[in-house]
Structures are given as structure tokens and as C-alpha cells.
């Protein structure tokens, strides 16, 4: 895939929602926003990470906030490009590329909108290889790349630029601003050179999203099990199949936090799985025992169709299969685990990886 056309968007959104591990935004909204941008501004060139010049100026863009809010309060027409334009103006640099901060139904597609609006190519990569709830939780943090200067923009036209002492402070201050902006804001941060991007980003994420989306679509038309295809492509494993019997969800401290309870079906009948999430799924506990945790991916898929179900889309009675898949190996280094492992989120356990 050397450019993203309207035709590619459904697969990308479907696949991105899988890697979004419950977060990253509603793929339907992401797809519609990107379709509208590509229709008015034309296809977006997609550049492999390895092809970036050392002195390229790469700017990731994303939506920050609670996914439960993003499905209600949609962006204004100008908002997406506004964050990137603001940061570029502050930096005084000519941008050469847009990138994705994370993989997710909205956050893999918002950069397509920004790239189309600004007439720039998009890098086939992202900062995590999945979605995480907090701004400092990107691989570039592990490489000492600063989140700030960063920009933040809301639909009312408010804009801010933050310059912070470290990436945790960037999260903290940007989160406060996001909450005041109504829990949904457009951001641009981690401005980096091409050389930094090649080292710190996860290559091929958009291609992987498109591939996953196409796998699910093809499996359905062949009556094969789409969940099996996803598990095997990601090298993951099935954790549980069940019916959603309860979802408790609140928008607090700028996140959608909560838990979902699943009552087992098929081979899992009689068992219960609890998913705890902060925008993204953090841990999956089967009958009280943690079976998978961050930094690995915990994804909820519709049991029959293989479509990802976001945490804000979980609802009573849905039949889902929960799978786990390995994160980029850099997340399993001590620094990676300190940044986004279970203890950071308040679970006093070592990470439970896909291997068990």
C-alpha cells in the first residue's frame, strides 16, 4: 500500500480497532472522518518507516480524551489540522510527514485526516504498536524523545502549547486541559526527526491494520473463524468466549474507566472473566486469576464476526471472544514495563504475557 484511498479505510479502521485493545476510538467515526478528508483532499501517500530521510520532520497527531465522549462530541471541521498547524507554527519548522501516535479506530485514522488536510504524506508506523491511555506511554519516551513542545486544540478554537520538564508532566498538564476542553481534544506531540522516528516508532502499523481488517473480512466470506485468523496473525492466544453480563463505566480524571464482566460460553461455560480498563483493557482476570495484562494486548472481538468491540461499545448481552497478543518486545524491557506495565496502573503483579 503506497497510498491510502477511500477504498482502504474500512479495512484499516477494522484492523486498527483490534490493535486498539478496546481503546483508540470508534472505528466507524475514524473511517467516516478519514473518508470525508480523502474525498475532499485526495488520497494520502503512505511512506514506509525505513524510507524516511534523517532530517525529515515528523509530527504525530491524535485525539486525547475519553472514548465515551468521542462518540458523542464529534470534532469541528477544522479541529484535526489545527493541532498540527499550531505546533508547526510554534516550532517554526516545515513539516514533512504526519505519523500516528497509537493504533486505534480513531487514532489510526485521525492522522489520515491531518495528512490529507495538510497535504503531507503519512508514515506507515505508530508510537506503540497498540493503544495506551496516557500520553507518555509511547516507545519514543524510551528513546528520550520529548513529548513537548506539544499542541492541544478543542472544537471551540482554543489552542495551547505546552513545554514541560518531562513526558509525565506533559500527560498531566495536557490531561487537565483535555478535561476542561470536554474530555476530547486534538493533540500533536513528539515532533521528531526522520532518524529518531526510524529508531523509536513501530514500523508497518497501518499496513498491519489493513491486513488484519482484510483477514477478518475474508474469513467471514469463507465461513472461517475470523477470531482464529486474528489470533494466528498476531501470534496471540484465545483467553475466553462469553456473554457480557455487566459493564460499569465512568468518565473520571479524563478517562473512560471501568470493568466488564463476561459469563463464559462454549468451552468456558461456568467461568467468569473480568476485564478492567482505562480507555484500553489493562488486565483480564479469569475467576479471580489474572490471565493477561499490559503491556500485552487484550482485545475483545465479536465472537462471530471478529469485529473489535471498543470499551465504550461493550454492552449487555454481547457475545465476545477475548484474545491476548504480544506487544512490541520493547514494551517488555524493564523501562517499558515501568512505563506501561501492570504496576503503573495499580495492579501489584508482574506482567502476564501471552505465553502464560
Amino acid at each position: 500500500m503506497r497510498e491510502i484511498t477511500e477504498h482502504d479505510l474500512a479495512d484499516i479502521a477494522r484492523g486498527a480497532a483490534i490493535l486498539g485493545t478496546g481503546g483508540g476510538g470508534d472505528p466507524y467515526i475514524g473511517r467516516l472522518l478519514a473518508a470525508s478528508a480523502v474525498r475532499s483532499d485526495g488520497p494520502v501517500p503512505l511512506v514506509p518507516l525505513a524510507e524516511l530521510d534523517d532530517d525529515a520532520v515528523v509530527l504525530p497527531v491524535a485525539m486525547m480524551g475519553a472514548p465515551t465522549v468521542m462518540v458523542e462530541k464529534l470534532p469541528s471541521a477544522e479541529q484535526v489540522g489545527l493541532a498540527a498547524r499550531t505546533l508547526a507554527g510554534y516550532l517554526g519548522k516545515e513539516l514533512t510527514h504526519i505519523a500516528c501516535a497509537e493504533a486505534g479506530g480513531v487514532n489510526s485514522l485521525i492522522p489520515v485526516v491531518a495528512a490529507a488536510q495538510l497535504g503531507l504524506p503519512l508514515v506507515d508506523a505508530d508510537g506503540m504498536g497498540r493503544a495506551f491511555p496516557e500520553l507518555q506511554m509511547v516507545l519514543p519516551t524510551l528513546y528520550g524523545i520529548r513529548a513537548t513542545p506539544m499542541s492541544i486544540a478543542d472544537e471551540k478554537g482554543n489552542r495551547g502549547v505546552l513545554d514541560t520538564v518531562d513526558n509525565h508532566w506533559a500527560e498531566r498538564l495536557a490531561r487537565s486541559a483535555t478535561i476542561d476542553m470536554g474530555c476530547s481534544a486534538m493533540i500533536s506531540n513528539y515532533a521528531m526527526s526522520g532518524a529518531q522516528a526510524r529508531e523509536a516508532l513501530v514500523p508497518g502499523t497501518l499496513s498491519l491494520c489493513a491486513e488484519l481488517g482484510a483477514l477478518v473480512r475474508a474469513a467471514r466470506s469463507e465461513h472461517a473463524d475470523p477470531v482464529d485468523r486474528v489470533v494466528s496473525r498476531l501470534g496471540g492466544r484465545r483467553l475466553f468466549s462469553g456473554k457480557v453480563v455487566d459493564v460499569a463505566r465512568r468518565t473520571v480524571t479524563g478517562f473512560a474507566r471501568g470493568e466488564a464482566r463476561l459469563s463464559g460460553m462454549d468451552g468456558d461455560s461456568g467461568a467468569e472473566l473480568v476485564l478492567r480498563f482505562q480507555n484500553e483493557h489493562l488486565v483480564a482476570e479469569r475467576d479471580g486469576v489474572v490471565e493477561a495484562s499490559v503491556p500485552d494486548l487484550i482485545c475483545t472481538l465479536e465472537r462471530e464476526s471478529g469485529e473489535a468491540v471498543t470499551t465504550e461499545g461493550l454492552r449487555y448481552g454481547q457475545r465476545v471472544t477475548v484474545i491476548a497478543a504480544p506487544a512490541d518486545p520493547r514494551w517488555h524491557t524493564p523501562e517499558g514495563i515501568a512505563l506501561a506495565g501492570p504496576r503503573y496502573f495499580g495492579y501489584d503483579i508482574d506482567p502476564i504475557g501471552v505465553a502464560g
Binding site: Y28, I29, L32, L33, S36, A66, T68, V69, V71, E72, K73, L74, P75, S76, A77, Q79, V80, E155, K156, G157, G182, C183, R220, S221, H223, D225, D246, V247, A248, R249, R250, T251, E302, E304, S305, E307, V309, E312, G313, R315, Y316, G317, Q318, R319
Partner: protein, 513 residues
């Protein structure tokens, strides 16, 4: 005794039931005015099995009228979508993902107005009443007859939708107004879509519902009249008038529930061959398989729970042409004047069934001249198309038994390639009407609760119990009642961890009622 009636695009079927025992069943043609078809159906029941109209305890009607109006894009009112969201929301305006022909069919106009709430109850912007009045002027000039109002986070706070309705209603007293917080849940685009569809159907709903009520009273029946909803429960007539969108998927739900009762199979594909379409759904362990989140109705996405159904334009009224196509167009309710067996001049699938000896409808001598190879080819084509759809609905490698229902199911062979034996239970032709008659009784709770720390579980249990109690009070048999839907929306601007909880419980109607 109960009467179940299914009003399809082609046929109107009726059954007289005592408990689950079918006392009488008739199949008549749907009439252009709908009501005379119902009168004929009730007369037919009376002739088959004389009954005292006063002994009828309830009449349940399932109709595909509203969804057909949308699918066929006609008889929809000129509609305006008003969204209270600015400065947010302009990136994806109302009806953004609608098929253009449906936007045209509702003469869809959209208005984005300042207003809407933040997640925590603050205002995104103050409601701009002068903007609204200007929009209302424009709607008046454009001949808008129905308005759908959607405000951001209205399930959390509906004040702006209510106020906007007052302003528009004062200026345009004759338009029908539909408010999104009464129709859908969190998820702006889906809720707005459902509200716009509802608005577009309001005029038709008023017309149809009046007709239904008149024809039932005309037959001397004084029992309450219900319409069946998407989730297989019943709603009263006044509710149907205001929320026609809630009847959307009732046709497939009724046919699947009817098929489950008639066949005794709890895991199967149900093929309902009507006059205009064949609808294929899947029962798993007795429940219709639900549509996935990205499935839409007539190309429009909503977030209703509805069964996963695939439809093709193939039914008893389908036109058969030359060499050899069947459908997708149908003569619909004009079957009894246009089909060859009724002396008409149009070759339909019904004529093929009669010529092949599979059905005894009309005058068989009028199709005796049909070329045998044409008849054979048309039947093969029908079998191939239907097994293709069943095949597409199958999600596992295991073969799925097929239950055929609906009047048009005589068109199907005894066995479908790749699917195996076709079960055709007794009374298969009127499965929809039976499904309507055995529709379930629901009990709903929709209220704001204060949840103290650590008390969530008991509050949730309390809300669920109340929904169950309400279902039982409405006539559901206690042993059969279960929770089918549960939705929780935190309301952060109220003190004490306030949460809007919506629960729906449903159960079978107590037998003998």
C-alpha cells in the same frame, strides 16, 4: 384467545390462538389501504372457527410496513435533522453516511445549531434560540413536515432537545417532532440516524396505526391492540404512533420466534419466504443471532439491537423473466390481479410453484402452458439463490438445519444443496403471525439512581428486579422473565454518583391470558 396478525408487503396473515394452540389461520392479500386486508383476515378466522369477538383478549400485529417504506424509499415525510452541537460536530454532519437516495427520499435537510452538553453537564455552547428560529423559518418554507432533534449528550441531559422542540413547535405547530433522547442511547450518529428515520416515518405511522385500530374495532373486537417491536416485545398503539422506528426488525424477530415454536429446533437457519423478499436469520440456542455492530438497516447505521438477517428480493410475488431471473422486483400486493394464476399477465414465482404442482393457488389451468424447462430453471434458480444466502449466514463449518416458513416457502425444494433437509413445520405459512401472537411482554426501568460507594451491585440488582416485576405485572409468566438489555449512563453533574440506568426485562405472556 389471542389474534396474531402479520401485515407484510404482499400477504396479511392471521392466526387465532388459544395458548400456543392454533385454532384457525388464514392468509389474505395485503391491500393498498392495509385495513381492508386486516378486515378480510379477521373475517377469514371467523369463518374457519366461529369465535365471540368479546372473548379475544388481545390482538398483536407485526408489520414490515415501516421498514419497507424506508427500504423502498417512499411515503417518507420531508424531514429535517436538527443537531445541537456547534461549535462541535461539523466534521460529520447529519445523514453523513446515508445512501443518497434515502437522503433524497426524506428531502433530508440538516441544521447545525449552537448547543449541546459536555460529558459533565456543562454547555458546549448556549442554545442559540435565534439560530433555531431561523432554521424553523427555513424548514417552513421548504415544506418540512417532520423534525428530528439531536443534542450532544442528551441521554445525560435532555434540556436542550426539549427546549428546541418548544421553539420549533411554536413556529411550526403542524410538524411532528422526534427527540433523540427518547429513542437511542449514547453514540451521537447512531442515535441521530434512528431519530431521523423515526421522524421520516411519523406521518405514515399515524395513518397506518389509525387504520389498524379502526379495522380491529370494526370487527367488534374491544381487546387491546399491540404492535410488536424489534426485540420481540409488544408496544401499545400510541407508542407505535410516536416511535415507529421501534417496529423495524419485528418481522424477522416474529418469524424466527414463530419458527422456533413450530419446529422445536433451537439451532437452525430460518428462511422466511414472503411475497417480496426472503429473509434468512439464524437461531442459536433458541435466540435470534444479533446483528453485529456494523450492520445497518437500508444502508443506515443505528444502534438498535436487532436480529442478524440477510434479505434477498425473492418471494411469491417476484417477477420471473426469460432466461431465467427471479426478482428482485415483486408485484407485491397486486399478486391476485397480476399473477397468471389469477388471470393476470405477469409471470411470478407463485405461477412457477403452481405449475410445478407445489402449490394450489388460483387457477392452475392458466399456467398449464408454461414450458417445463422454464419452470425447472426458475425453481433451480430460487433454490440456488436461497442456499447461497443460508451459506453466507453460516458462521461455522458445521451444517445448519434449515427451517422454511412463510407462504412463499413452497418455492423451496425438500433439500437445499450444501444445507441438507428443509424442515417445513405445520402452519409454516403463518409463522410470522404466530410469532406476533406469542410476542413477549416487557418491563422497563429508566431512572436516575444515586449510587453510594460500594453499593453499585445492589442498586443494579434493585433496578433489574423492578424491571422483572414490571414485566410480570404486565402479564409475563414469572418463570420466563429474563433481562435482555441493560444500559448505564453516569451523570457527572449531579451529586452523589448519579447514574441513569435503563433495564429491560421480558418474558412470555402468561398462558391463558
Amino acid at each position: 384467545m389471542r389474534i396474531g396478525i402479520d401485515v407484510g408487503g404482499t400477504n396479511t396473515d392471521a392466526v387465532l390462538l388459544d395458548g400456543r394452540q392454533v385454532l384457525a389461520s388464514v392468509k389474505t392479500s395485503t391491500t393498498a389501504d392495509v385495513t381492508s386486508g386486516i378486515v378480510a383476515a379477521i373475517d377469514g378466522l371467523q369463518r374457519q372457527r366461529a369465535f365471540d369477538p368479546a372473548a379475544v383478549r388481545a390482538v398483536m400485529i407485526g408489520t414490515t410496513h415501516f421498514i419497507n417504506a424506508l427500504v423502498e424509499a417512499h411515503r417518507l415525510a420531508p424531514t429535517a435533522a436538527v443537531r445541537l452541537s456547534l461549535p462541535a460536530g461539523a466534521s460529520l454532519p447529519p445523514m453523513v453516511d446515508w445512501p443518497q437516495r434515502l437522503v433524497d427520499a426524506v428531502s433530508g435537510r440538516s441544521y447545525l445549531v449552537h448547543g449541546g452538553h459536555e460529558f459533565d453537564g456543562r454547555h458546549i455552547a448556549e442554545l442559540d434560540e435565534s439560530e433555531l428560529r431561523k432554521a424553523a423559518d427555513d424548514m417552513g418554507e421548504a415544506g418540512v413536515r417532520s423534525v428530528a432533534i439531536t443534542s450532544v449528550f442528551s441521554p445525560v441531559n435532555a434540556e436542550f432537545e426539549t427546549r428546541a422542540a418548544e421553539i420549533i413547535g411554536a413556529q411550526l405547530p403542524d410538524v411532528a417532532i422526534s427527540l433523540s433522547h427518547e429513542i437511542g442511547r449514547i453514540g451521537l450518529l447512531e442515535r441521530e440516524n434512528a431519530t431521523v428515520i423515526n421522524a421520516a416515518l411519523r406521518e405514515l405511522a399515524a395513518h397506518i396505526v389509525d387504520g389498524l385500530a379502526a379495522s380491529v374495532t370494526g370487527a367488534g373486537i374491544t381487546a387491546p391492540l399491540y404492535l410488536s417491536q424489534n426485540d420481540g416485545t409488544l408496544m401499545d398503539v400510541d407508542f407505535a404512533r410516536r416511535y415507529p422506528v421501534a417496529t423495524f426488525a419485528s418481522g424477522p424477530t416474529n418469524s424466527m420466534r414463530g419458527a422456533a415454536v413450530l419446529s422445536g429446533l433451537d439451532t437452525c437457519a430460518v428462511v422466511d419466504v414472503g411475497g417480496t423478499t426472503s429473509d434468512v436469520g439464524v437461531l442459536r440456542q433458541g435466540f435470534p443471532r444479533e446483528a453485529t455492530t456494523d450492520v445497518s438497516v437500508a444502508g443506515i447505521r443505528t444502534n438498535f439491537r436487532m436480529p442478524d438477517v440477510l434479505s434477498i428480493g425473492l418471494g411469491g410475488g417476484s417477477r420471473v423473466r426469460g432466461n431465467v431471473t427471479v426478482g428482485p422486483d415483486s408485484v407485491g400486493y397486486e399478486l391476485t390481479s397480476k399473477a397468471l394464476v389469477f388471470g393476470g399477465d405477469t409471470l411470478t414465482a407463485t405461477d412457477i410453484a403452481v405449475a410445478a404442482g407445489r402449490a394450489d393457488i388460483g387457477d392452475a389451468s392458466l399456467v398449464a402452458h408454461l414450458d417445463r424447462s422454464l419452470v425447472r430453471a426458475a425453481l433451480d434458480k430460487i433454490a440456488a439463490d436461497v442456499s447461497d444466502v443460508v451459506e453466507r449466514m453460516r458462521t461455522s463449518a458445521e451444517p445448519l438445519p434449515v427451517v422454511a416458513v412463510g407462504g412463499g416457502s413452497v418455492l423451496l425444494p425438500e433439500e437445499l444443496a450444501g444445507c441438507g433437509e428443509v424442515h417445513r413445520p405445520e402452519n409454516y405459512a403463518v409463522a410470522n403471525a404466530i410469532g406476533a401472537a406469542i410476542a413477549q411482554i416487557g418491563g422497563e426501568v429508566d431512572r436516575v439512581y444515586v449510587i453510594e460507594p460500594g453499593r453499585r451491585e445492589s442498586v443494579v440488582d434493585e433496578a433489574k428486579q423492578e424491571a422483572v416485576d414490571r414485566a410480570v405485572a404486565a402479564g409475563a409468566s414469572p418463570a420466563s422473565v429474563g433481562i435482555v438489555d441493560f444500559d448505564e449512563v453516569p451523570i457527572p453533574y449531579l451529586p452523589g454518583n448519579a447514574t441513569r440506568i435503563r433495564v429491560k426485562a421480558v418474558g412470555d405472556l402468561q398462558l391463558g391470558v
